[in-house]
């Protein structure tokens, strides 16, 4: 047994920015040292790309002429978002709740008592990962969809240079990232994996279902501001009638995420770990 301990190397840099650099490196190391991160990203890529191909091959030919005239090629190509959003949301939640679940959070916060720095490290490492995987898979889905369309394209041929197409395709990745950040915020507030995941998807699906039961004038006034309805404008080529525009819809979803994260930032410093 070695009893004489060598002096560990300190990094030469100092200051707050260096502290954050250290925390960020630590959070990236955590994120990339568990398999579930890779499985989540892989699942999201797979569902986005495979569904784009399947929709192009099998669904498009069965659309009626009227449907085809109003169809949104980017929306169709991003059919996989309905699945991949679950993967991104769960990853965003787990990035913090898994630490509370295992007790690792106490080691983390003992190593970095500046708790908001830890939460920011998690936020940035997740957002960077999700942006790359989300935007990459959504762009890939669009190109795969266009490539797999029946010859002639049935009026759904679109080019990435057409107005709004790039915004909508990239927007799919932005939507997935923001959804994951909403999950991270809820995870920071709720701290239990099951509860936070249930809340995230409850918030996403339940209000949309409930509002559909309400009278028409309620539906049109509240409907566009629900998280899922607001969020899907960013990856649609044409905004839905009565819905929010792409960026205002995105801002509304961002507001939900910001509320959850703000509450998380507030509580992480106030509560016992």
């Amino acid at each position: 047994m070695a009893t004489t301990l060598a002096t560990p190397q300190r990094r030469a840099t100092d200051g707050r920015l260096a502290d954050f650099g250290n925390v960020l490196r630590s959070e990236f190391c955590k994120l990339y040292s568990i398999r579930s991160t890779f499985w989540t990203v892989f699942t999201a890529l797979l569902s986005n790309i495979v569904l784009a191909a399947l929709v192009a091959l099998f669904l498009v030919s069965r659309l009626s002429t009227a449907d085809r005239a109003t169809a949104d090629p980017v929306r169709l190509s991003l059919a996989g978002i309905h699945l991949s959003q679950i993967a991104f949301g769960v990853l965003g939640v787990l990035i913090i709740t898994s630490e509370y679940g295992t007790g690792m959070i106490r080691a983390t916060l003992a190593a970095v008592p500046q708790r908001r720095l830890v939460l920011t490290g998690k936020l940035v490492s997740f957002a960077a990962t999700a942006l790359v995987a989300g935007i990459g898979s959504c762009l890939a889905a669009f190109f795969v969809f266009e490539a797999f369309l029946p010859s002639g394209g049935d009026g759904l041929k679109a080019s990435i240079g057409d107005p709004g197409v790039l915004r909508a395709a990239v927007g799919g990745g932005l939507y997935l990232t923001l959804l994951g950040l909403l999950g991270l915020g809820l995870g920071a507030v709720i701290r239990a994996s099951a509860g936070a995941i249930a809340t995230l998807f409850g918030l996403l699906f339940v209000p949309t279902i409930l509002v559909s039961l309400l009278p028409q004038n309620w539906r049109t006034s509240i409907g566009p501001y629900l998280p899922m309805n607001a969020g899907d404008a960013i990856y649609s080529l044409h905004p839905e009638a009565g819905g929010l525009g792409p960026w205002s819809g995105f801002a509304v979803l961002g507001l939900y995420a910001a509320i959850a994260l703000t509450l998380g930032y507030f509580l992480i410093k106030r509560r016992d770990a």
Partner: protein, 310 residues
């Protein structure tokens, strides 16, 4: 050096830690002893800034823990074994903690060697035994080579070899001048490892003492003397101010006399001695005496406490 002043923690009506003041000096192993539920872990979490005290304060080397920007260089702590993501390897667990304080890869490899986990360092920590989890937790505590080390129940779940290893490690760390603070509910383990003891029950300080002082303070320390001439010996002893009463068939229970005195008296007077032994209250008994109130109180609300009586 850890200094707690009037440290208290309340959860609603429950008082977990009640006006606790103590000092943990460097260069010694200080044991933190108390029945399960006495408030040991809560106190340790407050030292690390994880739980906020309801009142009072605690400092580590003169500063509150949360004032340190890279605290792994100041305090190394093992709170729970296996508080690790089961899918992450031991290496990456340590690496992520090291990175957060700007500690390099070489040091991670060093502590893995020191705790003997090198061969399994790349395997998912979820498959670790409790003992391996303890070793990993200790490796994490050693990362920053800190002057203050704190371990919550480090021997739990370890085999005899592991217990011996920890005992020697803690003593070696203290011998290097570090502050070593460890909690346990097992007096027997503390007796072998600790120099000083801080004993708490129901969140309150019961005793802050050394192992030797605790033993001397025991009510039941006496000399057992067996002799065929015990009555003659008893008379001689009483003449020297000692107390001697009969014990069993042919023995005396002697207090207020040294064994030297008894031996010399017997030789000088030609009395045969069949036995002359020091009977000391065990630390375990002293501990039971001190904490019996606290244990009894807890038993009604915490079914796991009777284990502390073993």
């Amino acid at each position: 050096m850890i200094e707690a002043i009037g440290l208290s923690k309340r959860y609603g009506d429950t008082v977990a830690v009640d006006d606790l003041s103590f000092t943990v000096p460097p260069g010694q192993v200080t044991g933190f002893l108390g029945p399960n539920g006495a408030g040991k872990s809560t106190t340790m979490r407050m030292i690390l800034g994880l739980d906020a005290p309801s009142s009072g304060s605690v400092t580590v080397n003169g500063k509150p823990y949360t004032a340190y920007r890279r605290p792994l260089f100041e305090v190394g702590a093992l709170l729970e074994a296996k508080a690790i993501h089961g899918g992450r390897s031991a290496y990456h667990h340590l690496r992520s903690l090291a990175l957060s304080n700007g500690i390099g890869k070489v040091r991670v490899e060093q502590v893995l060697d020191q705790v003997g986990l090198r061969s399994v360092a790349r395997k998912p920590a979820g498959g670790f035994s409790l003992g391996m989890g303890q070793r990993l937790g200790i490796a994490a505590a050693l990362l920053g080579d800190p002057p203050v080390l704190m371990f919550d129940e480090p021997v739990n779940g370890l085999d005899p070899e592991g217990v011996l290893w920890i005992r020697n490690l803690l003593k070696a760390l203290a011998a290097e001048g570090r502050t070593v603070f460890l909690s346990s509910h097992l007096m027997s383990e503390m007796a072998l490892t600790a120099d000083r003891l801080i004993i708490i029950g129901r969140g309150r300080l019961i005793a802050e003492t050394t192992v030797a002082d605790l033993l001397d303070g025991g009510a039941g320390n006496y000399l057992r003397v067996r002799s065929p001439d015990r009555d003659a010996l008893a008379t001689l002893l009483r003449a020297r101010g000692a107390t001697a009463v009969h014990e069993g068939q042919d023995a005396l229970k002697v207090t207020d006399a040294t064994s030297d005195l008894v031996g010399e008296l017997a030789r000088a007077n030609g009395l045969a001695l069949l036995e002359l032994s020091t009977q000391q209250t065990s630390l375990e008994q002293r501990y039971m005496e001190l904490t019996s109130d606290a244990v009894d109180y807890r038993t009604t609300e915490d079914a796991s406490v009777p284990a502390a009586r073993n």
